[in-house]
Amino acid sequence: MSKQKLVIILLLLLTVQATSVFAVQRFPKPEFETGYIQPETQVPSPRTEILAVMDVVVLLLSLSVISWIVLKKRSRNGVFLMSVFSLIYFGFYREGCICAIGSIQNITLALFDYNYILPLTVIAFFIIPLVFTLFFGRTFCAGVCPFGAMQDMVAFRPQKLGSRLNAILGMVPYIYLGLAVLYAATGTDFIICRYDPFVGIFRFNASFSMFVFAGILLLSGIFIARPYCRFLCPYGVLLNWVSRFSRRHITITPAECIQCRLCEDSCPYDAIDFPVTSRNPESRQVMVRKLMLICTLIPFLIVAGGWTGIRLHETLAGVNGKVKLARQLLDPATLRIQSEPFEITAYKSSGKSQMQVNEEASVMLKRFYTGGWILGGFIGLMFGVVIAGRMLNIWRTDYVPNKGTCLSCTRCVDYCPVKSDLSKVNT
Protein backbone atom coordinates (compact mmCIF):
# COMPACT_ATOMS: atom_id res chain seq x y z
CA MET A 1 0.00 0.00 0.00
CA SER A 2 2.93 2.32 0.69
CA LYS A 3 3.71 2.24 -3.00
CA GLN A 4 0.26 3.46 -3.84
CA LYS A 5 0.62 6.37 -1.43
CA LEU A 6 3.92 7.23 -3.01
CA VAL A 7 2.25 7.17 -6.37
CA ILE A 8 -0.41 9.57 -5.19
CA ILE A 9 2.16 11.94 -3.71
CA LEU A 10 4.15 11.81 -6.90
CA LEU A 11 1.03 12.52 -8.87
CA LEU A 12 0.25 15.56 -6.78
CA LEU A 13 3.77 16.83 -7.17
CA LEU A 14 3.87 16.30 -10.88
CA THR A 15 0.46 17.62 -11.87
CA VAL A 16 1.73 21.04 -10.80
CA GLN A 17 4.33 21.08 -13.56
CA ALA A 18 2.38 19.11 -16.10
CA THR A 19 3.51 21.26 -19.00
CA SER A 20 6.34 19.28 -20.59
CA VAL A 21 4.88 15.85 -20.94
CA PHE A 22 7.76 14.06 -22.56
CA ALA A 23 10.68 15.59 -20.78
CA VAL A 24 10.69 13.38 -17.71
CA GLN A 25 9.68 9.79 -17.19
CA ARG A 26 7.47 10.19 -14.15
CA PHE A 27 7.21 6.54 -13.36
CA PRO A 28 10.35 4.54 -14.08
CA LYS A 29 10.06 1.42 -16.11
CA PRO A 30 9.51 -1.46 -13.71
CA GLU A 31 11.94 -4.32 -13.37
CA PHE A 32 9.86 -7.41 -13.88
CA GLU A 33 10.60 -10.54 -11.90
CA THR A 34 8.24 -12.98 -13.54
CA GLY A 35 9.98 -12.98 -16.90
CA TYR A 36 7.41 -10.77 -18.56
CA ILE A 37 8.50 -9.76 -22.00
CA GLN A 38 7.54 -6.27 -23.01
CA PRO A 39 5.69 -6.26 -26.31
CA GLU A 40 7.07 -4.15 -29.11
CA THR A 41 5.17 -1.17 -30.47
CA GLN A 42 4.12 -1.90 -34.01
CA VAL A 43 4.48 0.77 -36.69
CA PRO A 44 2.71 -0.26 -39.88
CA SER A 45 4.45 1.02 -42.98
CA PRO A 46 2.57 2.97 -45.65
CA ARG A 47 1.90 1.97 -49.21
CA THR A 48 5.16 1.18 -50.94
CA GLU A 49 6.67 3.53 -53.44
CA ILE A 50 6.50 0.96 -56.25
CA LEU A 51 2.74 1.35 -56.29
CA ALA A 52 3.08 5.12 -56.67
CA VAL A 53 5.27 4.50 -59.70
CA MET A 54 2.62 2.10 -60.96
CA ASP A 55 0.04 4.89 -60.77
CA VAL A 56 2.18 7.04 -63.05
CA VAL A 57 2.70 4.15 -65.45
CA VAL A 58 -1.04 3.45 -65.54
CA LEU A 59 -1.68 7.16 -66.14
CA LEU A 60 0.77 7.22 -69.05
CA LEU A 61 -0.62 4.03 -70.57
CA SER A 62 -4.24 5.04 -70.23
CA LEU A 63 -3.55 8.47 -71.73
CA SER A 64 -1.82 6.83 -74.69
CA VAL A 65 -4.66 4.37 -75.18
CA ILE A 66 -7.40 7.00 -74.89
CA SER A 67 -5.61 9.33 -77.32
CA TRP A 68 -5.30 6.48 -79.80
CA ILE A 69 -8.98 5.56 -79.38
CA VAL A 70 -10.12 9.17 -79.79
CA LEU A 71 -7.92 10.17 -82.70
CA LYS A 72 -7.38 6.93 -84.63
CA LYS A 73 -10.21 4.57 -83.78
CA ARG A 74 -12.79 7.33 -83.27
CA SER A 75 -14.81 4.88 -81.26
CA ARG A 76 -17.32 5.94 -78.65
CA ASN A 77 -17.41 2.40 -77.21
CA GLY A 78 -13.67 2.48 -76.78
CA VAL A 79 -13.84 5.76 -74.90
CA PHE A 80 -16.61 4.38 -72.74
CA LEU A 81 -14.65 1.24 -71.85
CA MET A 82 -11.60 3.33 -71.08
CA SER A 83 -13.56 5.60 -68.77
CA VAL A 84 -14.97 2.55 -66.96
CA PHE A 85 -11.42 1.37 -66.41
CA SER A 86 -10.31 4.79 -65.13
CA LEU A 87 -13.30 5.02 -62.83
CA ILE A 88 -12.36 1.65 -61.34
CA TYR A 89 -8.61 2.25 -61.12
CA PHE A 90 -8.19 5.96 -60.35
CA GLY A 91 -11.58 6.25 -58.71
CA PHE A 92 -12.49 3.21 -56.68
CA TYR A 93 -9.09 1.51 -56.36
CA ARG A 94 -6.92 4.59 -55.79
CA GLU A 95 -9.81 6.33 -54.06
CA GLY A 96 -9.38 9.53 -56.04
CA CYS A 97 -6.00 10.54 -54.56
CA ILE A 98 -3.74 11.81 -56.00
CA CYS A 99 -5.54 13.34 -58.92
CA ALA A 100 -4.46 15.86 -61.51
CA ILE A 101 -7.07 18.37 -60.36
CA GLY A 102 -5.77 18.48 -56.82
CA SER A 103 -2.13 18.48 -57.89
CA ILE A 104 -2.46 22.16 -58.90
CA GLN A 105 -2.39 23.00 -55.21
CA ASN A 106 0.65 20.87 -54.43
CA ILE A 107 2.55 22.46 -57.30
CA THR A 108 1.55 25.95 -56.13
CA LEU A 109 2.48 25.24 -52.53
CA ALA A 110 5.84 23.85 -53.63
CA LEU A 111 6.53 27.02 -55.61
CA PHE A 112 5.82 29.21 -52.60
CA ASP A 113 7.08 27.06 -49.75
CA TYR A 114 10.59 25.69 -49.95
CA ASN A 115 10.13 23.30 -47.07
CA TYR A 116 7.23 21.55 -48.69
CA ILE A 117 8.43 18.31 -50.21
CA LEU A 118 6.78 17.59 -53.51
CA PRO A 119 6.59 13.90 -54.43
CA LEU A 120 7.60 13.08 -57.99
CA THR A 121 4.29 11.34 -58.63
CA VAL A 122 2.45 14.61 -58.00
CA ILE A 123 4.60 16.41 -60.56
CA ALA A 124 3.87 13.59 -62.99
CA PHE A 125 0.13 13.80 -62.38
CA PHE A 126 0.20 17.52 -63.01
CA ILE A 127 2.46 17.63 -66.07
CA ILE A 128 1.63 14.47 -68.04
CA PRO A 129 -2.06 15.23 -68.78
CA LEU A 130 -1.09 18.76 -69.83
CA VAL A 131 1.54 17.46 -72.25
CA PHE A 132 -0.88 14.93 -73.73
CA THR A 133 -3.49 17.67 -74.11
CA LEU A 134 -0.95 19.83 -75.87
CA PHE A 135 -0.60 17.17 -78.52
CA PHE A 136 -3.98 15.42 -78.69
CA GLY A 137 -6.61 17.68 -77.12
CA ARG A 138 -8.46 17.00 -73.90
CA THR A 139 -8.34 13.22 -74.12
CA PHE A 140 -7.58 13.17 -70.40
CA CYS A 141 -11.09 14.48 -69.75
CA ALA A 142 -12.58 11.96 -72.16
CA GLY A 143 -11.59 8.81 -70.40
CA VAL A 144 -8.85 9.07 -67.81
CA CYS A 145 -10.23 11.48 -65.23
CA PRO A 146 -12.45 9.44 -62.88
CA PHE A 147 -14.58 12.52 -62.13
CA GLY A 148 -15.36 13.00 -65.77
CA ALA A 149 -16.00 9.30 -66.29
CA MET A 150 -18.52 9.18 -63.46
CA GLN A 151 -20.44 12.22 -64.72
CA ASP A 152 -20.29 11.08 -68.33
CA MET A 153 -22.12 7.88 -67.38
CA VAL A 154 -25.11 9.72 -65.94
CA ALA A 155 -25.52 12.25 -68.78
CA PHE A 156 -28.73 10.66 -70.03
CA ARG A 157 -30.76 13.71 -71.09
CA PRO A 158 -28.34 16.50 -71.81
CA GLN A 159 -29.99 19.85 -72.52
CA LYS A 160 -28.60 22.76 -74.44
CA LEU A 161 -27.80 25.67 -72.17
CA GLY A 162 -27.28 28.34 -74.77
CA SER A 163 -24.06 30.18 -75.32
CA ARG A 164 -24.75 33.00 -72.88
CA LEU A 165 -25.48 30.73 -69.91
CA ASN A 166 -22.50 28.61 -70.87
CA ALA A 167 -20.25 31.66 -70.83
CA ILE A 168 -21.57 32.90 -67.49
CA LEU A 169 -21.31 29.53 -65.75
CA GLY A 170 -18.00 28.98 -67.50
CA MET A 171 -16.56 31.86 -65.47
CA VAL A 172 -16.84 29.87 -62.24
CA PRO A 173 -13.80 27.63 -62.90
CA TYR A 174 -11.56 30.70 -63.27
CA ILE A 175 -12.68 31.99 -59.88
CA TYR A 176 -12.31 28.53 -58.37
CA LEU A 177 -8.81 28.14 -59.85
CA GLY A 178 -7.79 31.57 -58.63
CA LEU A 179 -9.04 30.90 -55.11
CA ALA A 180 -7.42 27.45 -55.04
CA VAL A 181 -4.07 28.92 -56.05
CA LEU A 182 -4.37 31.76 -53.55
CA TYR A 183 -5.18 29.44 -50.65
CA ALA A 184 -2.52 26.91 -51.65
CA ALA A 185 0.14 29.61 -52.10
CA THR A 186 -0.54 31.02 -48.65
CA GLY A 187 -0.50 27.51 -47.18
CA THR A 188 -4.02 27.97 -45.88
CA ASP A 189 -5.94 25.07 -47.29
CA PHE A 190 -6.40 22.85 -50.32
CA ILE A 191 -9.91 23.93 -51.23
CA ILE A 192 -10.13 21.71 -54.31
CA CYS A 193 -9.66 18.68 -52.08
CA ARG A 194 -11.89 20.11 -49.40
CA TYR A 195 -14.84 20.62 -51.72
CA ASP A 196 -14.12 17.57 -53.81
CA PRO A 197 -17.58 16.09 -54.41
CA PHE A 198 -16.83 12.63 -55.71
CA VAL A 199 -14.07 11.37 -53.46
CA GLY A 200 -16.73 10.42 -50.93
CA ILE A 201 -18.37 8.15 -53.47
CA PHE A 202 -15.04 6.54 -54.34
CA ARG A 203 -14.44 5.79 -50.68
CA PHE A 204 -18.06 4.92 -49.83
CA ASN A 205 -17.56 7.27 -46.94
CA ALA A 206 -18.02 10.99 -46.61
CA SER A 207 -19.61 13.72 -44.63
CA PHE A 208 -23.27 14.44 -45.23
CA SER A 209 -22.63 17.74 -46.99
CA MET A 210 -20.17 16.05 -49.36
CA PHE A 211 -22.77 13.44 -50.32
CA VAL A 212 -25.36 16.16 -50.85
CA PHE A 213 -22.99 18.07 -53.11
CA ALA A 214 -22.13 14.91 -55.06
CA GLY A 215 -25.82 14.05 -55.28
CA ILE A 216 -26.74 17.48 -56.62
CA LEU A 217 -23.95 17.31 -59.20
CA LEU A 218 -24.85 13.81 -60.37
CA LEU A 219 -28.59 14.47 -60.50
CA SER A 220 -28.20 17.76 -62.34
CA GLY A 221 -25.65 15.90 -64.47
CA ILE A 222 -28.51 13.94 -66.02
CA PHE A 223 -29.69 17.15 -67.71
CA ILE A 224 -26.59 19.33 -67.64
CA ALA A 225 -23.88 17.01 -68.88
CA ARG A 226 -20.74 17.01 -66.75
CA PRO A 227 -21.50 20.00 -64.55
CA TYR A 228 -18.30 19.67 -62.53
CA CYS A 229 -16.03 19.46 -65.57
CA ARG A 230 -17.59 22.40 -67.36
CA PHE A 231 -18.54 24.76 -64.59
CA LEU A 232 -16.22 23.99 -61.70
CA CYS A 233 -13.10 22.04 -62.59
CA PRO A 234 -10.02 24.26 -62.11
CA TYR A 235 -7.72 21.83 -63.88
CA GLY A 236 -10.11 22.02 -66.82
CA VAL A 237 -9.16 25.70 -67.14
CA LEU A 238 -5.53 24.78 -67.70
CA LEU A 239 -6.48 21.97 -70.08
CA ASN A 240 -8.77 24.37 -71.94
CA TRP A 241 -5.92 26.85 -72.49
CA VAL A 242 -3.44 24.19 -73.52
CA SER A 243 -5.90 22.35 -75.73
CA ARG A 244 -6.49 25.45 -77.86
CA PHE A 245 -2.97 25.02 -79.21
CA SER A 246 -3.06 21.25 -79.45
CA ARG A 247 -1.25 19.68 -82.36
CA ARG A 248 -4.02 17.29 -83.17
CA HIS A 249 -7.62 17.29 -82.08
CA ILE A 250 -10.67 15.15 -82.61
CA THR A 251 -12.70 16.13 -85.67
CA ILE A 252 -16.39 15.49 -86.15
CA THR A 253 -15.99 14.28 -89.69
CA PRO A 254 -13.19 12.02 -90.87
CA ALA A 255 -13.08 13.85 -94.21
CA GLU A 256 -14.83 16.99 -95.35
CA CYS A 257 -17.84 18.53 -93.68
CA ILE A 258 -20.88 18.30 -95.93
CA GLN A 259 -22.94 20.76 -93.84
CA CYS A 260 -25.63 18.17 -93.21
CA ARG A 261 -26.27 19.61 -89.72
CA LEU A 262 -26.76 16.13 -88.28
CA CYS A 263 -24.14 16.71 -85.58
CA GLU A 264 -25.66 20.00 -84.48
CA ASP A 265 -27.43 18.58 -81.42
CA SER A 266 -25.05 15.71 -80.79
CA CYS A 267 -22.76 17.41 -78.32
CA PRO A 268 -23.99 17.21 -74.73
CA TYR A 269 -21.44 19.84 -73.70
CA ASP A 270 -22.34 22.56 -76.21
CA ALA A 271 -18.79 22.33 -77.48
CA ILE A 272 -19.48 22.32 -81.22
CA ASP A 273 -18.83 25.59 -83.00
CA PHE A 274 -21.39 26.25 -85.70
CA PRO A 275 -20.47 27.80 -89.01
CA VAL A 276 -20.34 31.60 -88.90
CA THR A 277 -20.86 33.04 -92.33
CA SER A 278 -23.78 35.44 -92.11
CA ARG A 279 -22.37 38.68 -90.67
CA ASN A 280 -18.95 38.23 -92.20
CA PRO A 281 -16.88 39.98 -93.14
CA GLU A 282 -17.72 42.88 -90.89
CA SER A 283 -16.95 46.37 -92.05
CA ARG A 284 -13.60 47.82 -91.06
CA GLN A 285 -15.26 50.50 -88.97
CA VAL A 286 -17.14 47.99 -86.84
CA MET A 287 -13.98 45.92 -86.34
CA VAL A 288 -11.99 48.95 -85.21
CA ARG A 289 -14.69 49.97 -82.80
CA LYS A 290 -14.77 46.49 -81.33
CA LEU A 291 -11.01 46.42 -80.95
CA MET A 292 -11.02 49.79 -79.21
CA LEU A 293 -13.72 48.59 -76.86
CA ILE A 294 -11.83 45.41 -76.01
CA CYS A 295 -8.59 47.32 -75.49
CA THR A 296 -10.20 49.61 -72.95
CA LEU A 297 -12.47 47.04 -71.36
CA ILE A 298 -9.80 44.51 -70.40
CA PRO A 299 -7.49 46.87 -68.46
CA PHE A 300 -10.53 48.38 -66.79
CA LEU A 301 -11.79 44.95 -65.71
CA ILE A 302 -8.32 44.00 -64.41
CA VAL A 303 -8.11 47.13 -62.28
CA ALA A 304 -11.70 46.78 -61.10
CA GLY A 305 -11.09 43.13 -60.21
CA GLY A 306 -7.85 43.96 -58.41
CA TRP A 307 -9.55 46.70 -56.45
CA THR A 308 -12.32 44.30 -55.40
CA GLY A 309 -9.69 41.72 -54.47
CA ILE A 310 -7.93 44.19 -52.19
CA ARG A 311 -11.23 45.18 -50.60
CA LEU A 312 -11.94 41.52 -49.92
CA HIS A 313 -8.48 40.44 -48.79
CA GLU A 314 -9.29 40.47 -45.09
CA THR A 315 -12.35 38.37 -45.67
CA LEU A 316 -10.35 35.98 -47.82
CA ALA A 317 -7.69 35.71 -45.13
CA GLY A 318 -10.32 34.92 -42.54
CA VAL A 319 -10.07 31.19 -43.14
CA ASN A 320 -6.31 31.13 -42.59
CA GLY A 321 -5.48 29.45 -39.30
CA LYS A 322 -2.90 32.03 -38.23
CA VAL A 323 -5.19 34.96 -38.95
CA LYS A 324 -8.08 33.18 -37.28
CA LEU A 325 -6.06 32.56 -34.12
CA ALA A 326 -4.88 36.16 -33.90
CA ARG A 327 -8.44 37.37 -34.30
CA GLN A 328 -9.69 34.99 -31.66
CA LEU A 329 -7.04 36.21 -29.25
CA LEU A 330 -7.85 39.84 -29.91
CA ASP A 331 -11.59 39.33 -29.70
CA PRO A 332 -12.82 40.15 -26.18
CA ALA A 333 -15.74 37.77 -26.70
CA THR A 334 -13.38 34.77 -26.45
CA LEU A 335 -12.62 35.58 -22.84
CA ARG A 336 -16.26 35.41 -21.90
CA ILE A 337 -16.90 31.99 -23.44
CA GLN A 338 -17.17 29.27 -20.82
CA SER A 339 -15.17 26.58 -22.61
CA GLU A 340 -12.26 27.97 -24.55
CA PRO A 341 -11.82 26.83 -28.16
CA PHE A 342 -9.20 24.13 -28.82
CA GLU A 343 -7.22 26.61 -30.88
CA ILE A 344 -6.68 28.79 -27.81
CA THR A 345 -5.72 25.77 -25.70
CA ALA A 346 -3.20 24.74 -28.32
CA TYR A 347 -1.83 28.27 -28.49
CA LYS A 348 -1.39 28.38 -24.72
CA SER A 349 0.48 25.08 -24.64
CA SER A 350 2.67 26.05 -27.60
CA GLY A 351 4.46 28.73 -25.59
CA LYS A 352 4.11 31.40 -28.28
CA SER A 353 3.62 35.00 -27.26
CA GLN A 354 0.66 36.97 -28.52
CA MET A 355 3.11 39.26 -30.28
CA GLN A 356 4.39 36.35 -32.33
CA VAL A 357 0.87 35.30 -33.27
CA ASN A 358 -0.01 38.83 -34.31
CA GLU A 359 3.21 39.11 -36.27
CA GLU A 360 2.50 35.87 -38.16
CA ALA A 361 -1.04 36.99 -38.85
CA SER A 362 0.06 40.37 -40.21
CA VAL A 363 2.59 38.72 -42.51
CA MET A 364 -0.18 36.46 -43.72
CA LEU A 365 -2.51 39.41 -44.23
CA LYS A 366 0.13 41.12 -46.38
CA ARG A 367 0.38 38.01 -48.52
CA PHE A 368 -3.38 37.98 -48.86
CA TYR A 369 -3.31 41.64 -49.85
CA THR A 370 -0.98 40.90 -52.77
CA GLY A 371 -2.78 37.66 -53.49
CA GLY A 372 -6.16 39.35 -53.43
CA TRP A 373 -4.93 41.93 -55.96
CA ILE A 374 -3.63 39.22 -58.29
CA LEU A 375 -6.73 37.06 -57.85
CA GLY A 376 -9.08 39.93 -58.58
CA GLY A 377 -7.00 41.08 -61.54
CA PHE A 378 -6.93 37.55 -62.91
CA ILE A 379 -10.69 37.15 -62.64
CA GLY A 380 -11.17 40.56 -64.27
CA LEU A 381 -8.85 39.57 -67.09
CA MET A 382 -10.71 36.31 -67.66
CA PHE A 383 -14.06 38.17 -67.73
CA GLY A 384 -12.58 40.52 -70.30
CA VAL A 385 -11.24 37.70 -72.43
CA VAL A 386 -14.56 35.84 -72.38
CA ILE A 387 -16.46 39.00 -73.33
CA ALA A 388 -13.94 39.73 -76.09
CA GLY A 389 -14.30 36.18 -77.36
CA ARG A 390 -18.04 36.62 -77.60
CA MET A 391 -17.68 39.90 -79.49
CA LEU A 392 -15.48 38.50 -82.18
CA ASN A 393 -16.94 36.65 -85.11
CA ILE A 394 -14.46 34.19 -86.44
CA TRP A 395 -15.19 33.10 -89.97
CA ARG A 396 -15.99 29.42 -89.98
CA THR A 397 -17.57 27.37 -92.69
CA ASP A 398 -17.76 23.95 -91.04
CA TYR A 399 -19.05 22.35 -87.88
CA VAL A 400 -15.97 21.90 -85.70
CA PRO A 401 -15.44 20.99 -82.06
CA ASN A 402 -14.33 23.93 -79.96
CA LYS A 403 -10.77 23.02 -79.13
CA GLY A 404 -10.98 24.59 -75.72
CA THR A 405 -14.22 23.20 -74.36
CA CYS A 406 -14.45 19.91 -76.30
CA LEU A 407 -13.90 16.99 -73.96
CA SER A 408 -13.11 14.54 -76.81
CA CYS A 409 -15.94 12.21 -75.79
CA THR A 410 -16.41 11.24 -79.51
CA ARG A 411 -20.22 11.30 -79.32
CA CYS A 412 -20.46 13.59 -82.34
CA VAL A 413 -18.41 11.23 -84.50
CA ASP A 414 -21.26 8.71 -84.71
CA TYR A 415 -23.61 11.40 -86.03
CA CYS A 416 -21.49 12.22 -89.04
CA PRO A 417 -22.68 10.43 -92.17
CA VAL A 418 -19.28 10.81 -93.86
CA LYS A 419 -17.69 7.58 -92.83
CA SER A 420 -14.29 7.55 -94.45
CA ASP A 421 -11.99 9.84 -96.31
CA LEU A 422 -13.55 9.31 -99.76
CA SER A 423 -11.76 12.16 -101.41
CA LYS A 424 -8.44 10.55 -100.69
CA VAL A 425 -9.65 7.18 -101.94
CA ASN A 426 -10.76 8.69 -105.23
CA THR A 427 -7.56 10.51 -106.03
Partner: protein
Protein backbone atom coordinates in the same frame (compact mmCIF):
# COMPACT_ATOMS: atom_id res chain seq x y z
CA UNK B 1 1.73 29.70 -98.75
CA UNK B 2 2.71 28.95 -95.15
CA UNK B 3 -0.31 29.05 -92.85
CA UNK B 4 0.22 31.93 -90.46
CA UNK B 5 -2.25 30.65 -87.88
CA UNK B 6 -0.67 27.20 -87.92
CA UNK B 7 2.77 28.72 -87.51
CA UNK B 8 1.65 30.78 -84.50
CA UNK B 9 0.01 27.70 -83.00
CA UNK B 10 3.24 25.76 -83.32
CA UNK B 11 5.15 28.60 -81.76
CA UNK B 12 2.81 28.85 -78.78
CA UNK B 13 2.73 25.07 -78.42
CA UNK B 14 6.51 25.03 -78.32
CA UNK B 15 6.65 27.69 -75.66
CA UNK B 16 4.00 25.95 -73.51
CA UNK B 17 6.00 22.73 -73.77
CA UNK B 18 9.20 24.54 -72.83
CA UNK B 19 7.40 26.23 -69.94
CA UNK B 20 6.07 22.93 -68.64
CA UNK B 21 9.53 21.42 -68.95
CA UNK B 22 11.10 24.30 -67.06
CA UNK B 23 8.46 24.13 -64.37
CA UNK B 24 8.84 20.41 -63.80
CA UNK B 25 12.61 20.68 -63.93
CA UNK B 26 12.59 23.45 -61.36
CA UNK B 27 10.25 21.48 -59.15
CA UNK B 28 12.30 18.31 -59.35
CA UNK B 29 15.72 19.85 -58.86
CA UNK B 30 14.94 22.75 -56.58
CA UNK B 31 17.28 23.09 -53.63
CA UNK B 32 16.44 25.07 -50.59
CA UNK B 33 18.19 26.42 -47.56
CA UNK B 34 21.45 24.95 -46.41
CA UNK B 35 21.70 23.38 -43.03
CA UNK B 36 23.10 20.48 -41.12
CA UNK B 37 21.11 17.35 -40.65
CA UNK B 38 19.20 18.01 -37.45
CA UNK B 39 16.63 15.38 -38.41
CA UNK B 40 13.93 17.96 -38.71
CA UNK B 41 12.13 16.47 -41.68
CA UNK B 42 13.15 18.91 -44.35
CA UNK B 43 14.96 16.54 -46.69
CA UNK B 44 13.24 18.10 -49.69
CA UNK B 45 15.03 21.38 -49.17
CA UNK B 46 18.27 19.80 -48.01
CA UNK B 47 21.22 20.45 -50.26
CA UNK B 48 22.90 17.25 -49.15
CA UNK B 49 19.95 14.99 -49.77
CA UNK B 50 21.46 13.64 -52.97
CA UNK B 51 24.50 12.18 -51.21
CA UNK B 52 22.67 11.46 -48.01
CA UNK B 53 22.61 7.77 -47.15
CA UNK B 54 20.12 8.02 -44.33
CA UNK B 55 17.12 5.83 -45.02
CA UNK B 56 14.79 8.78 -44.71
CA UNK B 57 16.62 10.77 -47.32
CA UNK B 58 16.52 7.84 -49.71
CA UNK B 59 12.77 7.67 -49.50
CA UNK B 60 12.16 11.31 -48.83
CA UNK B 61 10.22 11.81 -52.01
CA UNK B 62 7.12 9.93 -50.93
CA UNK B 63 5.31 11.70 -48.14
CA UNK B 64 2.61 10.56 -45.74
CA UNK B 65 0.68 12.30 -42.99
CA UNK B 66 1.64 11.95 -39.37
CA UNK B 67 0.83 13.75 -36.16
CA UNK B 68 3.41 14.91 -33.68
CA UNK B 69 2.36 13.72 -30.21
CA UNK B 70 4.34 16.49 -28.55
CA UNK B 71 2.15 19.11 -30.23
CA UNK B 72 -1.10 17.19 -29.80
CA UNK B 73 -3.56 18.58 -27.26
CA UNK B 74 -6.00 15.62 -27.52
CA UNK B 75 -8.93 17.73 -28.62
CA UNK B 76 -10.71 14.70 -30.02
CA UNK B 77 -11.06 16.01 -33.56
CA UNK B 78 -8.98 13.12 -34.96
CA UNK B 79 -11.87 10.83 -34.14
CA UNK B 80 -14.41 12.89 -36.07
CA UNK B 81 -12.59 14.65 -38.89
CA UNK B 82 -10.96 11.76 -40.75
CA UNK B 83 -12.49 10.77 -44.08
CA UNK B 84 -12.53 7.25 -42.72
CA UNK B 85 -14.92 5.99 -40.06
CA UNK B 86 -13.44 5.00 -37.68
CA UNK B 87 -10.53 7.33 -38.03
CA UNK B 88 -7.11 6.32 -39.34
CA UNK B 89 -5.69 7.91 -36.21
CA UNK B 90 -5.41 5.45 -33.38
CA UNK B 91 -3.89 5.42 -29.98
CA UNK B 92 -0.54 3.66 -29.96
CA UNK B 93 1.09 2.34 -26.85
CA UNK B 94 4.82 2.88 -26.53
CA UNK B 95 5.54 0.10 -24.06
CA UNK B 96 9.11 1.29 -23.59
CA UNK B 97 7.78 4.42 -21.90
CA UNK B 98 5.04 2.82 -19.86
CA UNK B 99 5.30 2.71 -16.07
CA UNK B 100 2.83 -0.21 -15.86
CA UNK B 101 0.98 1.73 -13.18
CA UNK B 102 -1.85 0.19 -11.22
CA UNK B 103 -3.59 3.54 -11.15
CA UNK B 104 -3.37 4.30 -14.85
CA UNK B 105 -4.42 7.81 -15.79
CA UNK B 106 -5.22 6.63 -19.28
CA UNK B 107 -7.34 3.69 -18.21
CA UNK B 108 -9.35 4.98 -15.27
CA UNK B 109 -11.75 7.83 -15.08
CA UNK B 110 -10.61 10.45 -12.59
CA UNK B 111 -12.01 9.71 -9.15
CA UNK B 112 -12.35 5.98 -9.64
CA UNK B 113 -12.68 4.30 -6.25
CA UNK B 114 -11.82 0.67 -6.94
CA UNK B 115 -9.19 -0.10 -9.51
CA UNK B 116 -10.85 -2.84 -11.51
CA UNK B 117 -11.94 -3.34 -15.10
CA UNK B 118 -15.56 -2.45 -14.47
CA UNK B 119 -17.02 -0.52 -17.38
CA UNK B 120 -18.01 2.48 -15.32
CA UNK B 121 -14.37 2.98 -14.30
CA UNK B 122 -12.97 3.05 -17.82
CA UNK B 123 -12.04 6.24 -19.59
CA UNK B 124 -12.09 4.60 -23.01
CA UNK B 125 -15.54 4.94 -24.57
CA UNK B 126 -15.11 1.83 -26.71
CA UNK B 127 -13.33 -0.52 -24.33
CA UNK B 128 -10.33 -0.51 -26.65
CA UNK B 129 -7.77 -0.17 -23.89
CA UNK B 130 -7.23 -3.53 -22.19
CA UNK B 131 -5.75 -3.98 -18.75
CA UNK B 132 -3.94 -7.18 -17.81
CA UNK B 133 -2.24 -8.12 -14.58
CA UNK B 134 1.48 -8.80 -14.97
CA UNK B 135 2.87 -9.00 -11.46
CA UNK B 136 2.30 -7.07 -8.31
CA UNK B 137 1.84 -4.08 -8.66
CA UNK B 138 2.22 -3.82 -12.40
CA UNK B 139 -0.42 -3.94 -15.09
CA UNK B 140 0.03 -4.13 -18.82
CA UNK B 141 -2.15 -1.98 -21.05
CA UNK B 142 -2.76 -2.89 -24.65
CA UNK B 143 -4.84 -1.25 -27.33
CA UNK B 144 -7.31 -3.13 -29.46
CA UNK B 145 -6.91 -1.11 -32.65
CA UNK B 146 -10.10 -2.50 -34.12
CA UNK B 147 -12.04 -0.83 -31.34
CA UNK B 148 -9.98 2.35 -30.97
CA UNK B 149 -11.59 5.41 -32.54
CA UNK B 150 -8.69 7.77 -31.88
CA UNK B 151 -10.56 10.08 -29.54
CA UNK B 152 -7.44 10.61 -27.44
CA UNK B 153 -9.19 10.47 -24.05
CA UNK B 154 -6.69 7.93 -22.72
CA UNK B 155 -3.82 9.90 -24.27
CA UNK B 156 -4.89 12.94 -22.35
CA UNK B 157 -5.14 10.99 -19.11
CA UNK B 158 -1.79 9.32 -19.57
CA UNK B 159 -0.10 12.55 -20.50
CA UNK B 160 -1.54 14.42 -17.54
CA UNK B 161 -0.88 11.84 -14.84
CA UNK B 162 1.53 9.33 -16.31
CA UNK B 163 4.54 8.95 -18.54
CA UNK B 164 2.78 9.81 -21.76
CA UNK B 165 3.29 6.38 -23.23
CA UNK B 166 -0.11 6.44 -24.90
CA UNK B 167 0.17 8.57 -28.03
CA UNK B 168 -2.02 9.27 -31.00
CA UNK B 169 -0.63 8.29 -34.40
CA UNK B 170 -1.82 7.99 -37.96
CA UNK B 171 -1.89 4.28 -38.71
CA UNK B 172 -0.64 3.84 -42.23
CA UNK B 173 -2.25 0.50 -42.79
CA UNK B 174 -5.53 2.44 -42.64
CA UNK B 175 -4.67 5.94 -43.81
CA UNK B 176 -5.58 6.57 -47.44
CA UNK B 177 -3.09 9.46 -47.57
CA UNK B 178 -5.39 12.18 -48.87
CA UNK B 179 -3.73 15.01 -50.68
CA UNK B 180 -5.00 17.31 -47.97
CA UNK B 181 -5.58 15.46 -44.73
CA UNK B 182 -8.97 16.53 -43.43
CA UNK B 183 -7.80 16.12 -39.84
CA UNK B 184 -4.72 18.26 -40.46
CA UNK B 185 -6.96 21.01 -41.77
CA UNK B 186 -8.93 21.02 -38.52
CA UNK B 187 -6.11 20.31 -36.10
CA UNK B 188 -6.01 23.23 -33.66
CA UNK B 189 -2.37 22.82 -32.71
CA UNK B 190 -0.87 22.20 -36.14
CA UNK B 191 0.38 18.80 -35.04
CA UNK B 192 -0.09 17.23 -38.45
CA UNK B 193 2.65 17.32 -41.05
CA UNK B 194 3.83 15.34 -44.03
CA UNK B 195 6.66 13.01 -43.12
CA UNK B 196 8.80 10.74 -45.31
CA UNK B 197 7.12 7.44 -46.01
CA UNK B 198 10.33 5.62 -45.16
CA UNK B 199 10.06 6.68 -41.54
CA UNK B 200 6.42 7.45 -40.93
CA UNK B 201 6.45 7.36 -37.13
CA UNK B 202 6.67 10.36 -34.85
CA UNK B 203 6.21 8.36 -31.65
CA UNK B 204 8.11 9.63 -28.67
CA UNK B 205 10.18 7.39 -26.46
CA UNK B 206 10.84 4.68 -29.05
CA UNK B 207 14.61 5.20 -28.93
CA UNK B 208 14.73 5.75 -32.69
CA UNK B 209 17.40 7.58 -34.65
CA UNK B 210 15.20 10.65 -34.84
CA UNK B 211 15.24 11.14 -31.14
CA UNK B 212 18.89 10.24 -30.57
CA UNK B 213 19.73 12.71 -33.31
CA UNK B 214 17.64 15.37 -31.67
CA UNK B 215 19.21 14.66 -28.30
CA UNK B 216 22.68 14.97 -29.77
CA UNK B 217 21.95 18.23 -31.52
CA UNK B 218 20.32 19.79 -28.48
Amino acid sequence: MPDRREFLNTLIRGSILAGLGLLSGALIFRTGKEGDCGFDFTCGSCSKSKDCKLPRALESRQMVWQLDPSKCIQCGRCATNCVLTPSAVKCVHVYAMCGYCDLCGGYFKPGTKTLNTAAENQLCPTNALKRKFVEDPFFEYTIDELLCIGCGKCVKGCGAFGNGSLQLQVRHDRCVNCNQCSIARNCPSGAFSRVPAGNPSLLKGMGTETETGKLKSS
